[in-house]
């Protein structure tokens, strides 16, 4: 009975036994984390947690509760539930609503109005910019380009601007309020996309909306984007001060100044 002290006893006590504490996983937990899907899930959670910790340590920005979510299970289950929601609505509506049977199309009759599909309206509208194709006095009142070529040149300019944009406005994502100028450029571009679409069907719009004429629509096409950009810039610039104040207040609430 003298060597009792340096050997493990059958009741679980002894020198080589480490008493379990909160950090020690139970047998159930060990088995749960070492097999199959539960192991994969655990490793994903752990990887997400480690990534979170790393980002937190490297971050010199405001501390947040959560910096990133793992794809499984958070994002996958969220996306699955959103997808089933919409698929369910589509199935329910298609099962209950009466089907639509329109009149047969008559291939021998040309429709009165021919317009492209709606998503081609902006490109169609850019071909109708002939009122601003300048007649040059140098050429004796002649136009330098035909109206058709002018429209194609305008399309090239717009596509070129869209192409160059990411190379000009570089860097990480910012909120509109942090960069009012670029937000104004974006809002003006959106408005131009809308007004140039309306221009492509200006006759139809002018017929249906009293008070709108085709020349007025043309003027608005060029003016409204500028007005939109101006208003956006003014509003964001005015909001900026209060926004920075709120941001600083939240920042110092999280990290009191020393």
């Amino acid at each position: 009975m003298t060597d009792d002290t340096d050997q493990t006893r059958t009741d679980g006590s002894g020198p080589n036994i480490v008493p379990p504490d909160d950090e020690t996983p139970t047998w159930h937990e060990r088995k749960e984390r070492s097999e199959g899907l539960s192991r994969v899930t655990y490793e994903y959670f752990e990887r997400g947690r480690l990534e979170d910790q790393r980002l937190r340590q490297d971050s010199d920005y405001i501390e947040r509760d959560v910096l990133g979510f793992p794809t499984w299970p958070h994002e996958t289950i969220r996306n699955l539930s959103i997808a089933s929601f919409f698929v369910g609505i589509i199935i329910a509506l298609s099962a209950t609503l009466p089907p639509h049977f329109g009149d047969e199309a008559d291939p021998s009759v040309t429709p009165e109005i021919i317009v492209p599909d709606w998503y081609l309206y902006p490109a169609f509208g850019l071909l109708q910019l002939d009122p601003i194709n300048p007649e040059l006095a140098l050429l004796g009142g002649e136009k330098l380009m035909s109206d058709e070529l002018y429209g194609i040149a305008a399309t090239t300019v717009v596509i070129g601007v869209l192409f160059i944009y990411p190379f000009v406005n570089k860097g990480s994502a910012r909120r509109p309020i942090e960069e009012p100028f670029w937000a104004a450029v974006g809002m003006g571009g959106l408005m131009f996309g809308f007004t140039i679409s309306v221009l492509s069907i200006d006759q139809i719009v002018a017929d249906r909306m009293p008070g709108l004429t085709a020349p007025l629509i043309f003027d608005l096409t060029l003016l409204l984007p500028l007005v939109t950009a101006f208003i956006t810039y003014a509003v964001l610039k005015a909001m900026q001060e209060g926004y920075m104040y709120e941001l600083n207040r939240r920042y110092y609430r999280l990290r009191p100044p020393r």
């Binding site: 929601f85 609505i89 329910a92 509506l93 209950t96 609503l97 009466p98 639509h100 329109g102």
Partner: protein, 89 residues
């Protein structure tokens, strides 16, 4: 906040779905003209009348219910917090 959003969304989509189905059954004479808001059917049976009443109730429930949870309750909480902050200062 997320709770209020999902309550509003559930009311909006559920009630809207019921309204859309009933309106498509009874208030859509043709898909080439006015849809969902067309005229009521002439001399409706009792069941059709009940369905039309439910459609009306669901339409306003979808709008007012969503507005309640997305606008009214958050606005009330904001105001409450604002007045509390005011009182503290």
């Amino acid at each position: 906040m997320a709770d209020e959003f999902i309550k509003g969304l559930a009311i909006f989509s559920g009630a809207g779905l019921v309204w859309m189905v009933l309106a498509a059954w009874f208030r859509t004479p043709t898909f080439e003209d006015e849809q969902l808001f067309g005229p009521d059917p002439e001399d409706p049976t009792l069941l059709v009348e009940i369905a039309l009443a439910i459609a009306d109730v669901m339409f306003w429930f979808a709008i007012i219910g969503a507005l309640t949870f997305w606008v009214a309750i958050p606005l009330g909480r904001e105001l409450y917090g604002y007045w509390n902050e005011r009182a503290d200062e």
